[in-house]
């Protein structure tokens, strides 16, 4: 049940326990307990809404920043990542294999603010060797959802 439950919730976190129980063919209490357990284990870490901010009047600029770091004795990546992810404007931090070490997603109101964050806060950290900033110009697909897709049924209305 766990895998199916998670894949339903990942697509629709607003679904009710009673409906989940029907879809999974389980009792409501079983589903509720399973969700509680998954929340406690931090398998389920939150319930978010996917918003296309471009369609609102709010100004938002998102940048992906490649960060190369240097490790010091007794200080792994986790410590540096923590220094970075504690900033609320940082939306995500991933440890990456390949040409750089950390991929940081930053969301701000303007280009200027992003530039300021990179030069004043990020680059000045002792462990940071270099950064490369990429601004996002347009989001096509996010969290598995194509943002501008219009659902249409192109099938014939009745077929055998």
């Amino acid at each position: 049940m766990k895998e199916q439950l998670l894949s339903i919730l990942e697509k629709n976190s607003r679904i009710g326990i009673n409906e989940l129980a029907v879809l999974l063919g389980k009792e409501e209490i079983e589903v509720a307990n399973e969700i509680k357990k998954l929340e406690e284990e931090r398998v389920i870490c939150g319930y978010h809404t996917l918003i296309d901010w471009e369609k609102t009047s709010l100004e938002k600029v998102t940048a992906l920043i490649e960060v190369r770091v240097t490790l010091q004795r007794g200080q792994g990546f986790d410590k540096i990542a923590q220094r970075i992810y504690n900033y609320p404007e940082v939306k995500s931090v991933y440890l990456i294999s390949g040409g750089f070490d950390l991929m940081v997603t930053l969301e701000e109101k303007s280009l200027k603010e992003i530039a300021a964050f990179v030069s004043d806060k990020l680059s000045t950290l002792d462990n940071v060797l270099s950064t490369g900033t990429h601004f996002i110009l347009k989001k096509y697909k996010d969290h598995g959802t194509i943002l501008d897709k219009i659902e249409e049924d192109s099938r014939e209305v009745v077929t055998p």
Binding site: L23, L24, P160
Partner: protein, 387 residues
Amino acid sequence: MRDFLSERVKGIKPSGIRKFFDIVSEMKDAISLGVGEPDFETPWHIRDEGIYAFEKGKTFYTSNSGLLPLREEISKYIIRTQGVKYNPKTEILVTVGGSEAIDIGLRALLNNGDEVIIPQPSYVSYAPCSYLAGGKNVYINLKSENDFRLMPEELKNAITEKTKVLILPYPNNPTGAIMEKSDLEKIAKIIIDNDIFVISDEIYSELTFKGKHTSIVSFEGLKDRTLLINGFSKSYAMTGWRLGYCCGPEELIQQMTKIHQYAIMCAPTISQYAAVEALKNGEDDVKMMRESYNQRRRFLMNSFKKMNLECFEPYGAFYVFPCIKEFGMTSEEFATRFLQEEKVAAVPGTAFGDSGEGYLRISYAYSLEKLKISMERLEKFINKLRA
């Protein structure tokens, strides 16, 4: 002017679905639950392989039997799922959908007057294809109390000395019924005892929600007397690619290949390349779609239970087949009124044989959102009828 038309073809009744289709098409804002194909688009990696085949210039005929690499993948698939080995060179034919295999299979098997046993309700093409091939159709009216399975007694009673072919349509369209291993065991014995040939239409085999699908060919002695039909339409959501296949004894496949080569030449080349990818790397997609259908199936069964509408629990395909006898209307009347009054289209059971009278085929190849709205409307409709 003379009447140039064939008396034989004029003798075929037009499909009951067609009539209903015309009414639904006129109603622009109706929700249709009448579709017999997946709502998923073909998984992208399969489409991508099709595009790649185009780019590479794979725009020519293939061999009559189909691309050998595809037949090899089909062979592996049947070994994987049923533990039965078909020789890709001599015992497998790639066809234009499962439908072509039904047609040419019957043509290659039947002489005038041979009896063909067709359990109904079932897919619409068996009876006319058999009739066109000179077969005499003998129908078995499957019963709701048996969950629309074919019962050994029913089969025995239908057999005469002229019986040549049994059509075995499971998982079933329109009822959603399946035949489990224990059900097939008894049927297999009767088939051998009476020296009958089987056409097993297993196009919905991947959409089984209770254990894994068992094919009749997995029983001792049945491989030599069965034409196994399957395809890519339902399992990989590839209806528009028009690609199916059949496996059977070499002698039969040889005869079928003659008809196929004169009538068709070969199945669409691009589709065949895409299908190789489907069989090699499509298992996760099938699993995802199956889980999604299963959730919708449970949703519908739960809705029927809540509105107290009788429906046996189907474990296959993507149809449910609720009983509407309590309303004292024919299936066609019910479906027509439901469409006109609540703007939801479901196909009358009678489109799949007389024994579909009193039932409605509801397809759940639709999003949960659409199914929810439809069930609200169905509840409203039957409450009105019950009042």
